[in-house]
């Protein structure tokens, strides 16, 4: 599969060009954030306070790494289940978030928000944490270090492999792929 090369931050034009089923390779800065970090990000937005990173055009990676061995930027670093961030994702998209990397199903509200706000959801391969870590070249915790693996980190990635699951046109690879290969048992 030939992958589309994209760089962050994402523009609306780049997002519109992505279709469910496309393989991509992402280069640039993405932000690590999972459960506790999302709760705090949303609290900051609701309080009208500044976020630890620029949300406009940003891509978040739902991930909490294992500890880095000496001499490495990060430990194993595969995606976590995205559904736990569904409660927070629409508000972040409303404030400029353009891409989410994770694994697993999203709610109808989140998918609608992707259409309304021109955003995209990528799946990285869950359980391929050792392989994906090789595409992460820089890692700096920028907020809430006390959260450990749940802190917000600025990650530099090079050709990070992912697949478009939900595009901004309503396409859904989880539904389409499953339908294509389902059969009578």
């Amino acid at each position: 599969m030939a992958a589309k090369k994209i760089t962050t931050p994402l523009t609306d034009d780049v997002v519109r060009d992505l279709k469910a089923g496309d393989a991509v390779e992402i280069t640039g800065v993405i932000y690590q954030a999972r459960d506790s970090a999302h709760k705090r990000l949303v609290a900051l937005i609701e309080a009208g306070e500044e976020l630890p990173f620029e949300l406009q055009g940003a891509v978040v990676y739902y991930m909490g790494p294992s500890p880095a061995k000496p001499g490495r930027p990060i430990g194993s670093a595969g995606p976590t289940t995205s559904g736990r961030m569904d409660a927070y994702a629409p508000l972040l998209m409303k404030h400029g978030l353009k891409g989410m990397i994770g694994k697993g199903l999203r709610t109808a509200e989140v998918k609608q928000a992707m259409v309304d706000e021109t955003a995209v959801y990528f799946a990285a391969t869950g359980g391929a944490g050792a392989l994906l870590a090789q595409r992460i070249t820089g890692n700096e915790v920028i907020a809430w270090p006390e959260l450990g693996a749940e802190a917000v980190a600025r990650l530099e990635v090079v050709n990070f492999p992912a697949i478009v699951v939900n595009d901004c046109h309503g396409g859904d690879l989880y539904e389409e792929g499953r339908k294509k290969y389902a059969r009578e048992a």
Partner: protein
């Protein structure tokens, strides 16, 4: 009269530490082979690509001595304690937990246990406490199996208190429904452990124990082997595929463990396991 054998719990700590690390770095050979096999049979190009990534990932983890997955799991132990063993040198469960503490620390494994789950959800910072299931058996050995159980797949598991009238048809449908609902969430291809019978506590332990079987092994009871084959076929007909992106390989195996149950009950539990089916055993 049998001789009592002394086992120092420090030996248990050392063995547990090693198992925590190696279970997380080295994918068992049966799982590795099953992934390679699936690469040959999968029809979806995306699915083949994903399976290839998983094989490569296992190679990198083993070579670089890093975790297969960043979710290095809740540490679950199944202990068979010979009744002629006298444990000396300290508290047995404390010794297991100390092994977990050392393994998850020295092995650069993620600490994924939160205390006060309803409110504070504070990380215990050393991946303790472990879950320890101990069974006393004849003999003078201590057999310990460690399983690193990730959260994403565990969350997709189900407990089903069915009616006896529903029979195997109702039960098998409930297994398929559990996997169907889970979709892409538990990192397919999955391994499915099914517990049948017992009580609500025991049926979930049976389902988890079922996951310890080697992929490719055939259940000695042909009746159960047939049930496992039927479930595997139905699950792989769902079309979920590797990572839920569509394909034929949704599950690598289905394993069933059963025991008698109350005349009024028909408990059934499904323990969902991601493709990173990590476990190690040791005998002391």
């Amino acid at each position: 009269m049998s001789t009592i054998r002394e086992v120092d719990v420090h030996e248990i700590t050392a063995a547990v530490k090693t198992m925590c690390i190696t279970a997380n770095y080295d994918l068992p050979a049966d799982v590795y082979e099953a992934l390679k096999q699936a690469q040959q049979t999968e029809e979806s190009p995306v699915g083949v690509e994903v399976l290839g990534q998983l094989v490569e990932n296992a190679d990198i983890a083993a070579r670089d001595r890093v975790p297969i997955c960043q979710d290095t799991g809740f540490a679950v132990f199944f202990v068979e304690l010979g009744q002629d063993v006298h444990l000396v040198g300290g508290d047995f469960e404390a010794a297991v937990n100390e092994g977990v503490r050392q393994g998850y620390g020295d092995g650069y494994l993620r600490k994924s246990v939160a205390e006060e789950p309803a409110y504070a959800r504070r990380n215990t910072k050393d991946n303790t406490p472990a879950i320890i299931h101990t069974q006393v058996v004849p003999g003078a050995k201590v057999h310990i199996t460690m399983m690193a159980k990730g959260g994403g797949a565990e969350n997709m598991s189900s407990l089903n208190m069915l009616k006896p009238s529903q029979g195997w048809a109702g039960m098998s449908q409930a297994v398929v429904d559990t996997v169907s609902r889970a979709g892409s969430n538990p990192c397919p291809p999955v391994v499915i452990g099914v517990g049948i019978g017992g009580t609500i506590d025991m049926v979930t332990v049976l389902a988890k124990k079922a996951l310890l079987r080697d992929i490719g092994s055939v259940h000695p009871d042909p009746r159960i082997a047939g049930m496992e084959g039927e479930l595997l076929e139905r699950i792989n007909a769902l079309g979920i595929g590797p990572q839920g992106l569509g394909g034929r390989t949704t599950a690598l195996a289905v394993f069933i463990e059963e025991m008698p149950c109350h005349i009024a009950s028909m408990p059934m539990a499904v323990n969902v396991q991601c493709h990173a089916q990590r476990h190690k055993s040791v005998e002391l």
